[in-house]
Amino acid sequence: MKGYSFLSLARQALNRHQGWPVAWRTPELKKNYDVVIIGAGGHGLATAYYLAKNHQIKNIAVLEKGSLGGGNTGRNTQITRSNYFWPQSAAFFDHSLKLYEGLSRELNFNVMLSQRGLLTLAHSLHELEGIQRWANAIRINEIEAEILSPIEVKKLVPLIDIDCRFPVHGGFIQRRGGISRHDAVVWGYARAASAYGVDIIQQCEVTALNIQSGRVTGVQTTRGTIGADKISIAVAGHTTELARMADFRVPITSMPLQAMVSEPIKPCLHTVVMSPVIHMYVSQSDRGELVIGGGADLYNSYAQRGGIPLLQENIAAVLELFPAFTRLRLMRQWAGIVDITPDTSPVMGLTPLQNLYISGGWGTGGYKAIPAGGDTMAYTIVHDEAHPLIEDFGLARFETGALIDEGAASGVSH
């Protein structure tokens, strides 16, 4: 891999940008791999990258039924944060945020991480107490969180109306939280993994798993059968469908999560603003678009579009808090299918089948977990044992009852 640098940019500029090498290879599919990863989204590609980098496994295929990063990795609202309530979640997601903080350098690819702060609002005294409890739990988890008064909120976000139908009683901010560019994250991992020799195979859908006496031996795909010593599933909303191929059941419901962007405007919002109770969050991308999201449509769906009622509710909440935004037009609206678990924490680690691993149940918050998800799953695949950071996130918790009921997982309540 030729590194990107100021020098390479200057050289290419003199060359009229005609000589840039392709970012990742388009290899021929081999008959056998040490590890096959199903799903070339952020989690799948990060897993492949850390397998190659940290564990020196190079004979890896990442299979993708559509195009690289075209699922939820390209559909989320690119927020990174680690303001979680329970110690297990905080440890895992802060590991992820720390990896994000060094990711541009690590991948030699600018992921445009902007730690502009993530503000969570309270609209009543009860909510303020709830938010104080949440912020204190974060501090106990050794992650910073700062309570802000309504005046401080107004100072930070001048366009906000703190005296509206949902009066702002205060909030808390995680200053290390923020946004990054989701496409850059997936492209960066793809490029770095490909340079290690990982085969990224697009337009290759897995149709069945080959299983022999409780052990997976390969996958059947639309491009033929592939043998694999180990297989890992990272398919977001379609986790249940993959688990069905392996004949086990998962505690997952697939639902659409909508997002939308406005037309681009000059910088006016310098923080990510979230309101868990009125179901909205908004940030401004580097392109100037306001990126808006809210709660999930609360019924099973695999249709990658959201319902109008929820969209209306979401927009109404944003406009109530930011009256100036009423003049904007929406440019795009879309939905991704998210796999939500009963405790809104992910399902990671081993499965009932030998040599089959799972990384799913990311629900509405998988993007921020990409680096740590890849890092810990790579360890789990190599050692056939859950990484210490994800021990508690296994499927077994639904039988033992040790759920990690993470209300903070979604950022908005469901």
């Binding site: 469908e241 997952i252 609360l298 019924y299 769906s301 695999y302 319902g307 639904f398 039988e399 033992t400």
Partner: protein, 96 residues
């Protein structure tokens, strides 16, 4: 927007209804193992296709009923009462 045909009130917009998750679940006996209870409580069918599910007409008659809905197209194939068996949808295949 779903348009749901409440068996008692007629066709209304989805905002009047609450979703109640998968239907036709049978509570295990009290001496069931942890694995059986866990499966009953947490695991879902979550199909990509026809889903048999419960809805309640929250801002209407307040009654529960079953719906057979395609999770890929959102098309509602059948509405039937609580306690009734799953309808045979073979004759209602949209492609036929």
């Amino acid at each position: 927007m779903l348009r749901i045909d409440c068996p008692w009130c007629g066709t209304r917009d989805e905002v009047e209804f609450s979703f109640g998750g998968e239907s036709h679940l049978t509570r295990p006996t009290l001496d069931a193992s942890d694995a059986v209870w866990s499966d009953y409580l947490f695991n879902k069918d979550n199909p990509k296709g026809i889903h048999f599910e419960r809805w309640m007409h929250r801002f209407g008659c307040g009654r529960w009923f079953n719906v057979a809905r395609d999770t890929l197209t959102h098309e509602i194939h059948a509405v039937y009462e609580m306690g009734a068996a799953k309808p045979d949808l073979a004759v209602k295949d949209p492609d036929s």
